[in-house]
């Protein structure tokens, strides 16, 4: 029996359980956690436990990295705020940056990549001009201005990178690609967003409302590639639900918002998967009864071995195909797969091993 990432999800959900691991178990756990970009979260969960010396040391290092990631993320957001403040447009932080800015548990120990912000579609041009004109951001690529593909098919501007800080910012005007079938109501998400606590000069940035945060996170869990990074996205959902679950009327509101955004199915599934993998307390009605497909998702999410390698290639490939199905209208997809089949290039290894 090959090891899978159940080792990792168990350690995250119940850190005490990790104390029974032997040296090989710890070695596997650390490699998996790094591969799934969950090492910082794990290190925080294990903090204070009686760990083997090397593990304690690696956890210290991981917490230091996470602290640095947090500083950098908050700084990019702040620099964005300084440039965009004069536009008077709502700027909504998304994903990791939002979690740390709002002080949510999901931000603890989280690795954070690019700075993702959501703005009104009508504000895109002004935002773009301000970031490039005053902010010191530039297109990653010279010809991005004419990049019709991004503007017409994607849910964000072509990526911008800051010329001095080498950090990327992704400006979204909706939360899923425009070709995707669920079409979440981005304008409504912005309207319901919440302003962050105003500290000295820090006002003006916003985060999604709690139910919308879950909707967005669930949309990403299932829409992104072949569920790559799924365990991390699901861990976000677990942490968010634990932060919000006790709030008055939260589950009701989540149900309503999921429906509005055409995300009821992904949200329900995310709740069920979080419960299975992380023991997340969820609302039974909203999660709905388990479905046969859930187990396939679980197997896919746990497809990682003690070397940090991806496993279950066929299952991964099936999810890869499925992700294209979700992203493209059927005709586009048929064309895409037809071309692939004709060239005989489809192999269980190729794509999706990002």
């Amino acid at each position: 029996m090959m090891t899978d990432a159940r080792l990792l999800t168990r350690a995250l959900a119940d850190p005490q359980s990790a104390l029974a691991l032997d040296a090989q178990g710890w070695t596997d756990l650390i490699a998996m956690a790094r591969a799934e970009q969950l090492i910082g979260s794990l290190a925080h969960r294990l903090d204070g436990l009686d760990l083997p010396e090397t593990v304690a040391r690696l956890c210290d290092d991981a917490r230091l990295s996470a602290r640095h990631a947090r500083t950098q993320a908050l700084w990019e957001a702040e620099m964005g705020r300084r440039v965009l403040a004069s536009l008077g447009e709502p700027v909504v932080l998304l994903k990791g940056t939002a979690y740390v800015a709002a002080g949510l548990s999901a931000g603890i120990g989280r690795s954070i990549g690019d700075c993702d912000i959501l703005v009104r579609r009508g504000a895109l041009d002004a935002v773009e001009k301000a970031l490039i004109g005053q902010g010191g951001w530039e297109w990653v690529k010279e010809d991005s201005y004419d990049d019709a593909y991004y503007r017409e098919h994607m849910h964000e501007l072509p990526p911008l990178i800051h010329k001095d800080r080498d950090r990327m910012i992704d400006v979204h005007h909706t939360v899923l690609p425009l070709t995707a079938r669920p079409t979440p109501d981005a304008e409504s998400m912005i309207a319901e967003s919440e302003e962050l606590d105003v500290s000295d000069g820090g006002g003006g940035l916003r985060v999604l409302s709690p139910p919308d945060m879950i909707c967005h996170s669930a949309a990403h869990l299932f829409a992104d590639g072949d569920l790559a990074g799924g365990l991390r996205n699901l861990w976000d959902i677990d942490r968010l639900l634990r932060d919000f679950g006790e709030r008055e009327g939260f589950w009701n509101r989540l149900g309503q918002r999921a429906e509005l955004h055409q995300l009821s199915t992904p949200v329900s599934r995310a709740l069920r998967l979080a419960e299975i993998l992380y023991d997340t307390p969820v609302d039974g009605d909203l999660a709905g009864p388990g479905r046969a497909g859930d187990l396939l998702y679980v197997r896919r999410l746990l497809a990682r071995d003690g070397w940090g390698r991806e496993t279950r290639k066929c299952l991964r490939f099936a999810f890869y195909i499925r992700s294209h199905w979700l992203r493209m209208p059927p005709l586009m997809l048929a064309k895409h797969l037809w071309t692939k089949w004709r060239k005989g290039q489809a192999n269980a290894n190729g794509p999706g091993s990002a």
Partner: protein, 94 residues
């Protein structure tokens, strides 16, 4: 535009080490970035930490502590320094 008001972080948001050749190495805690500052940028930053200031106020503070008689275009030069510090994120317009 020239009379824009700028703000700097309080002094404890920074660590500063002055190297032998007169250059100041600044660690800026809110950003985690290291900046290398040549005169007069460190002096400008120190004066800005006393409180929000436009270029005129900044000149008054600097003249209190330093002899600025060697410079012709005080206002233009200091505005350029402020914009540079703004780009680095060390000062901003509140």
């Amino acid at each position: 535009m020239t009379e824009a008001v700028f703000r700097a972080d309080p002094p404890d948001a920074r660590r500063c080490v002055v190297l032998a050749d007169g250059v100041t190495v600044v660690y800026h805690r809110p950003s985690g970035l290291t900046h290398i500052l040549a005169p007069p940028a460190p002096e400008v930053l120190a004066a800005m930490s006393e409180g929000d200031a436009d270029t005129g106020t900044l000149i008054a503070r600097l003249e209190r502590d330093h002899d600025l008689s060697g410079t012709d275009d005080l206002r233009g030069t200091l505005t350029a320094r402020l914009v540079e510090l703004e780009t680095a994120g060390l000062v901003w317009r509140p």
